[in-house]
Amino acid sequence: MFIAKVVGNVWATRKHRSLEGRKLMLVKPFSPETGACAGETTLAVDGGTGCGPGSVVLVLDEGGSARMILKDENAPVRTLVCGIIDSIDSKGKAVKYA
């Protein structure tokens, strides 16, 4: 799993059947030390957390567990938002994210 910031979302009416009814977010890897986003933006399916643009989230990066969360063994999903981060405690420094 990696820490990421939701930078936007995607609207798609025609898509794979197991993606219907799911929110599609655009996430960018976020490093807590520098507090900045770095890396490639990718599309992550929202696993029911209700996150929106600007929130710092936990993104799963493996297909098997993503299908387990979505309870659908035919879902072609690899990156999935599985949590909204409240605070990160790294190297003795705790940072809160609203």
Partner: protein, 99 residues
């Protein structure tokens, strides 16, 4: 899942078994931030019915085979899924990046 634009189609008279029923589209990968080119062309099997010049998002490696398994209408339950490593799973209507 990455963004791409359909720029063409690939026809193969002879190809491996199980791949014959799939339309192969030529994709130009774009990046989500500004929609500019982000790599060289790739061929992906189509699962969402994308047309020319449409912006789509696609999955790669193991998820591409999973997209065709089960009820996507292209593979009957008895058949094995096609041996592909990239599959288009949706057509993008619009996307917004704020930061």
């Amino acid at each position: 899942m990455k963004l791409a634009q359909v720029v063409g189609r690939v026809f193969c008279a002879r190809q491996c078994c199980g791949m014959d029923a799939k339309t192969l589209l030529l994709l130009e990968p774009l990046n989500w931030d500004d929609g500019k080119n982000a790599g060289d062309l790739l061929v992906a099997a189509d699962c969402a019915g994308a047309g020319h010049k449409e912006k789509v998002f696609y999955v790669q490696s193991r998820e591409a085979v999973t997209a065709f398994r089960g009820y996507s209408g292209e593979t009957a339950d008895g058949e094995t899924a096609p041996p592909v490593d990239a599959a288009i799973v949706g057509i993008v209507d619009n996307w917004s990046t704020k930061l």
